[in-house]
């Protein structure tokens, strides 16, 4: 009788202890193994950098033994997240105004701010599309087109550039009812890649990426018909790894980073834009 009760009590406390332990384990730290290794450098990057930064991440990790974790989004979304205290170490925006705005709020270190690339936009259709892309933007008048994908101009710089290019060419009013807005430039590409949108205006850096290049055709939109896409970056003021964040910032425009960035179609500081 007493033995049975003691046994039950013992079993009960074991279960309770296990429960407490798992709750504590769940809430402490980032995860199981995180406590042993140093935390990775948290990089917030505009979505046009999705493919090029995957390459740069691997190269940087090989050279420095540091680890990098990339978070992609539209520049406006990432800026809002930094304003809300998101734990990023460094921010690569597709629009340098967002970085200057964060500097003004004291959220990005002023001496780290730099222009790291100039972006370009392209008209993009998938390989199976019957649309002839070589005619450029006038293609958008085609009645077969039901949906035109652009990034949301409210918070995505590449979407804003697309709107400017269409305004310059006088096409905006005509094509605007056909717009579908991507959350960021890589979702915009996905809309067209899946064939749900007939054509899209996306970043050159996505169109030339090896995994994208084979799936579609692109036409380079002249740089002079939209405001320059000045991509700015800076170290987040709250970063606990400022030295490494600065190192990555320099790395992107350094001897290793430059050829990679160029291969993805970016014009780098001090270069003349390609036409």
């Amino acid at each position: 009788m007493l033995v049975a009760r003691l046994r039950r009590l013992f079993r009960g406390s074991c279960v309770l202890a296990l429960l407490c332990w798992s709750v504590v384990a769940l809430f402490s730290g980032d995860g199981a193994a995180a406590s042993q290794t140093p935390s990775p450098l948290e990089v917030a990057a505009a979505s046009d950098l999705r493919f090029v930064f995957e390459e740069l991440r691997i190269l940087f990790e090989q050279q420095t033994q540091a680890r990098i974790r990339l978070t992609f989004g539209s520049s406006g979304q990432l800026k809002t997240q930094i304003e809300q205290g998101a734990p990023f170490d460094v921010f690569f925006s597709a629009n340098d105004n967002f970085v200057h705005n964060l500097v003004a709020q004291g959220l990005v270190l002023p001496d780290t701010v730099r222009l790291y690339a100039m972006g370009r936009i392209v008209l993009w259709v998938r390989s199976a599309s019957p649309l002839a892309i070589d005619n450029g933007l006038s293609l958008l008048r085609d009645d077969r087109i039901r949906f035109i994908a652009i990034a949301n101009p409210a918070h995505a710089p590449y979407g804003l550039a697309a709107v400017q290019a269409l305004r310059t060419t006088g096409l905006y009013e005509r094509v605007q009812p056909k717009f579908v807005l991507g959350e960021n430039i890589s979702q915009t590409l996905q809309f067209v890649q899946t064939g749900n949108a007939d054509v899209g205006i996306v970043a050159l850096s996505l169109a030339v990426a090896p995994v994208v290049r084979t799936t579609g055709r692109y036409w380079l939109i002249p740089a002079y018909i939209h405001q320059p896409i000045r991509q700015g970056a800076g170290v987040v003021a709250g970063s606990k790894q400022q030295a490494r964040a600065r190192a990555f910032l320099t790395f992107v425009n350094g001897p290793t980073g430059r050829p990679v960035m160029q291969r993805y179609g970016f014009t780098l500081p001090g270069e003349a834009p390609a036409q």
Binding site: T80, E83, A154, L181, G195, N196, A197
Partner: protein
Amino acid sequence: MTAAGIDWTPLWLSLRVATAATVIAAVVGLSLAYVFAEHRFAGRNLLEALVTLPLILPPTVLGYYLLVTLGRQTLLGQAYERVTGTSLVFTWQGAVVAGLVPAVPYVVRTARAAFEEVDAAILEAARLDGASRFQQFFGILLPLARRGVVAGVALAFSRALGEFGATLMVAGNIPGRTQTMPLAIYDAVQAGRWEAASVLVVVLSVAAVLILLLVSRLGASA
């Protein structure tokens, strides 16, 4: 845009989408609930599990399934586009589908339980008196189970009104056309327009409470 700088189209669009989704979900859900409650057949449990699935799956999974079945390059999507002349993706009709699929199980589960509460002897008596299945359903089952039915439909409406993930994937986020209230709120926050977001949040909250009060009063007096 109004003087306050708030665009109200998302509210009207949300109400229209949620109402359309609820009406379809009610018709489909009540039929299924009736079948599940009154009939025994092979594969019933499997069918029931399938109908309940959207209740458990994350909205992004639903969005994925809808895109691969109804996208413009799929058989179903192209057939729909040929018949109606409009696509389901990137349209408000797509938002209706995205809201309707997760709303159906609320109707089915709640109405089925209510149907099973109804005394079988009453239906039996009606059948002996020569009532058709149609008369049994609309004359006896539905009125007697009205509380459960109304509750299920109300839950379906609120689920459809709050639908976000699948809608974002299927209908896009097109201001004035597919941007429902939850999407407009998300968009306002993403763009750092906090004032607009807070106004929309309050409006959606108040609308939801009002609708639920109205429906519960209807249920009580019916």
